[in-house]
């Protein structure tokens, strides 16, 4: 069970468990997603993992991690709903499993502190040579999206579908914004982030006999905690936009974007999970069974929900000449959901699979943190266990009610040059 403590300037979340042979730390700095910060926040993870004042090259920093029994340091930026999250992750072996019972956690926290609070600087900003090098790395990352056609199609769809909402912003940022970033401007932004973002610290593992609270307190240097901005977008999106784009591909990507009008805090959020499971979340779902199995139209056809923005996406990979047919069959599955063409038995099975999936997520340290963090982002006090209990109570009628709230907003096709 999660133990939450309000500390000076941050919330500490302790998740004691004997499931794992490791101890996981996650520091999540969160603010509102907007164009002004997104490229800065995309660049920072690359930069901060390159050097600290104590370990001035990437090689020296990595060698230090090696010595700590291959401790894993990972920094990344992500978005959830309309929040931008910068996460520092550190994983170490629990020294119960090491012959040489050193104070691995203390050394690891010292290193983490160094990475966060003691980056390699020159003059009034980050090291300029490292900055320029990492700008290039991020540029490559931005470009590589073109090679992952499934992600490309999803990104393009969201950009068009949510064009006037912050959610459309690309998590890797924008090349034209990158050119305006200097080592000073970025460092100033970083200092601001450290003091004014909201900060949540998670520790997962067998930590009963570790003075973890004290150790974390010594690592973090902050005065004020911030709260999460929650705004519900009430805009009406009943228009079904259609966009077709072309690329050098053999397999076309047909994606759909729906508005669910349901987010994490809503009463019917659990029913939305079950809806998604029946519609396209599992191999037994309507999409998989009909688009793939019955009509052999696609190698994959699935759906996924966005928990904090209230969206539902459908993904499929099809032969370019099957667009019309695949579209018809996919939308037909949604119609079947709306007209209640699924059985009580299927609802019960899907509930069980959904619970199974949630419980399995809690068997993974990273999954445990992410699932708990969803509550923070929604300003909710619902634990994953509560969500599981909610799913258990979902009825066929609940799913039917949910299906009537879901509205198609965007049809997106990425197809071959000829297609």
């Amino acid at each position: 069970m999660e133990k939450i403590m309000n500390k000076d300037g941050y919330d500490l979340h302790l998740l004691q468990t004997k499931k794992f042979k490791t101890i996981h730390l996650s520091l999540k700095f969160t603010t509102e997603l907007c164009r002004e910060v997104v490229t800065n926040r995309a660049l920072l993870p690359y930069l901060l993992q390159q050097a600290t004042a104590t370990y001035p090259t990437a090689t020296k920093l990595r060698q230090k991690l090696d010595e700590l029994y291959g401790a894993i340091l990972h920094i990344d930026s992500s978005k959830k709903g309309e929040n931008s999250i910068l996460t520092f992750r550190l994983e170490i072996i629990n020294d119960q499993f090491l012959q040489d019972k050193s104070s691995l956690i203390e050394e690891a926290l010292q290193l983490l502190k160094d990475v966060i609070y003691n980056p390699k600087l020159e003059n009034n900003g980050f090291d300029n040579k490292i900055l320029e090098r990492e700008k290039q790395t991020l540029k490559n990352k931005m470009e590589s999206l073109n090679e992952d056609k499934m992600s490309l199609a999803n990104t393009r769809m969201i950009e068009e579908m949510c064009a006037d909402e912050p959610y459309h912003l690309r998590v890797h940022g924008y090349e034209e914004d990158l050119d305006t970033i200097t080592s000073e401007s970025l460092y100033n932004y970083y200092e601001e982030l450290l003091t004014s973002d909201r900060l949540d610290v998670y520790v997962v593992g067998d930590i009963e006999n570790t003075p973890i609270e004290k150790l974390i307190d010594e690592t973090i240097n902050r005065k004020k905690q911030a709260s999460i901005a929650t705004k519900k977008s009430n805009s009406h999106h009943s228009v079904d936009k259609v966009l077709v784009e072309h690329d050098q591909i053999q397999q076309a990507k047909l994606h759909f974007g729906f508005r669910t009008n349901i987010t994490f805090n809503d009463q019917d959020y659990a029913a939305l999970h079950v809806f998604n499971g029946l519609f396209g979340g599992f191999p037994s779902s309507k999409l998989f069974m009909n688009v793939r199995e019955k009509h052999s139209l696609a190698y994959y056809a699935a759906s996924r929900i966005e928990s904090h923005k209230g969206l539902l996406f459908v993904f499929s990979g099809i032969a370019p000449n099957q667009y019309e047919k695949a579209k018809e069959i996919i939308l037909e599955q949604m119609e079947q959901m709306r007209s209640g063409q699924f059985t009580e038995e299927q609802v019960e099975e899907t509930k069980e699979m959904t619970i199974n999936q949630l419980k399995e997520t809690l068997d993974n340290p990273q999954g445990m943190i992410e699932l708990h963090y969803q509550s923070v982002l929604a300003n909710s006090d619902k634990f994953p266990e509560d969500l599981i209990a909610d799913v258990k109570r979902v009825t066929k009628q609940d799913v039917l009610d949910v299906s009537k709230k879901i509205v198609l907003n965007m049809t997106y096709l990425l197809t071959s040059e000829e297609g």
């Binding site: 029994y69 170490i92 090491l98 290039q136 397999q251 191999p283 190698y299 994959y300 399995e360």
Partner: protein, 427 residues
């Protein structure tokens, strides 16, 4: 039932070989909500030429058949097996590699029912002409999806550049042409030969009761009839020591070209301990050179030859082995030449003892960390079991590796004939 406790990692494995030859392994882990089971046969994409069960003549089957069979086992006369698992709240999957085909599920409830579904669907095939024809469309889509993935093409291209005759160079899913040749009878021939219990391993890990689980498996197996266990005759072409082609180029739409260097392994030990040690030593050496803390990484990065996509991986099997190093590069030729130069300069002084100890520490940490995952334990334990190695015991072998063994390995590792390059350039 044999019980083995591994002190350092605090794990217990129970194992038993049943009269029909099936090897069963159970790893109870009560803290977990989940149970994961994987049923693996020692049969993969490379097993194309063999003597069918109860026959005498060697035959060769179409490319991609092991993978095709994997798909088709889920379909029964009256239903799709995915649906059986769904009804029981489980999620199921399967995969085919060069040397294995595996079927798996994970669930947090109704474990015994799910386990029975797993064993029964794998052991009761139903192939019909009609369903074989239908599957061809689905697999053709899968093949086309892989054809669009530059990383996958590059990986296979590198293997093709290394191997001239060995079937490891054939795509696991086959080609659209080759799968079109597959018939229902081919599937039964492969199935009957390679899905005999004595060629298979069943591993169950997680929230299980050991007695109840073994009892279910034994009762299930005793109720079925199998031919007496027989060794399978497989034939592999003789593969030359040197690479097939020094350079291979693939053209397809990519933003940034790719360069991958392949190192073809020779002299793969047959003794399990020597085999495992070689795999560990390859892994340490690659890490010490090319990982982010490796001695060559910084130079390649500073020269702008590599980006975040750079990486290296090693594969060692009884029949073949290789390492692949590389990634995206705006200067692919310079990158390939730099990697080859680094590899050819490797000698016993390339790693000092301190580096060797550091990488060993890191690798040991990563190994312990990966035991967080029931999937890792069950998949890897089964994989090594089919090579005749106890994965958990091998952790001790890993710790015993000496600097002297590392030096000996490095001094005989690589010569120019073992190296090839695969480029992916924009159309």
């Amino acid at each position: 039932m044999e019980k083995l406790y591994y002190n350092q990692i605090d794990e217990t494995i129970y194992n038993k070989t049943l009269p029909n030859g099936l090897r069963v392994f159970l790893l109870p882990k009560k803290e977990m909500a989940k149970t994961y089971a994987i049923f693996t046969t020692n049969y993969g994409s490379i097993d194309q030429s063999f003597v069918p069960l109860n026959e005498e003549k060697l035959i060769t089957v179409p490319d991609g058949i092991a993978h095709f069979l994997e798909h088709k086992l889920f379909e029964k006369e009256d239903r799709d097996v995915f649906h059986d698992f769904s009804k029981l709240g489980a999620s199921a999957n399967a995969f085919t590699s060069f040397t294995k085909t595996a079927y798996l599920f994970s669930a947090t409830s109704k474990i015994m029912e799910n386990l029975k579904v797993l064993i029964d669907f794998v052991q009761m095939p139903y192939f019909s002409e009609q369903s074989v024809e239908k599957e061809k469309g689905i697999i053709a889509q899968e093949i086309k999806m892989y054809d669009d993935q530059a990383d996958w093409r590059a990986f296979f291209g590198t293997i093709k550049s290394m191997y001239k005759s060995h079937p490891v160079q054939i795509d696991i899913a086959g080609t659209v042409d080759s799968i079109n040749k597959i018939t229902k009878d081919d599937l039964y021939t492969c199935y009957n030969t390679f899905y005999h219990p004595s060629n298979m391993v069943l591993f169950v890990a997680g929230n299980i009761d050991v007695d109840e689980t073994i009892k279910l498996i034994e009762t299930n197996q005793l109720a079925k009839e199998f031919a007496p266990p027989e060794p399978i005759t497989r034939k592999f072409p003789v593969e030359q020591a040197e690479v097939a082609e020094k350079e291979l180029e693939i053209t397809m739409p990519v933003n940034v070209p790719k360069a991958l260097v392949g190192v073809k392994e020779v002299d793969i030990p047959t003794d399990p301990k020597a085999f495992m040690k070689k795999e560990y030593l390859m892994d340490i050496a690659m890490d010490a050179i090319f990982s982010r803390s490796g001695y060559a990484y910084e130079q390649l990065y500073e020269e702008g030859l590599i980006d975040q996509s750079f990486g290296c991986e090693t594969h060692l099997e009884k029949e073949f082995g290789f390492s692949i190093i590389g990634g995206n590069s705006k200067k692919p030729v310079e990158l390939a030449n730099a990697i080859k130069h680094i590899l050819l300069s490797v000698n016993k002084a390339s790693l000092d003892e301190e580096t060797f100890d550091r990488i060993k520490r890191k690798k040991l940490g990563h190994l312990i960390r990966s035991l967080n995952s029931l999937e890792f334990i069950a998949n890897q334990y089964s994989h090594y079991q089919l090579i005749g190695i106890d994965l958990f015991e091998s952790i001790e072998w890993f710790e015993q590796l000496t600097y002297q063994e590392m030096q000996e390995f490095l001094s005989n590792w690589i010569n120019e004939k073992q190296l090839s390059v695969c480029y992916v350039n924009n159309k």
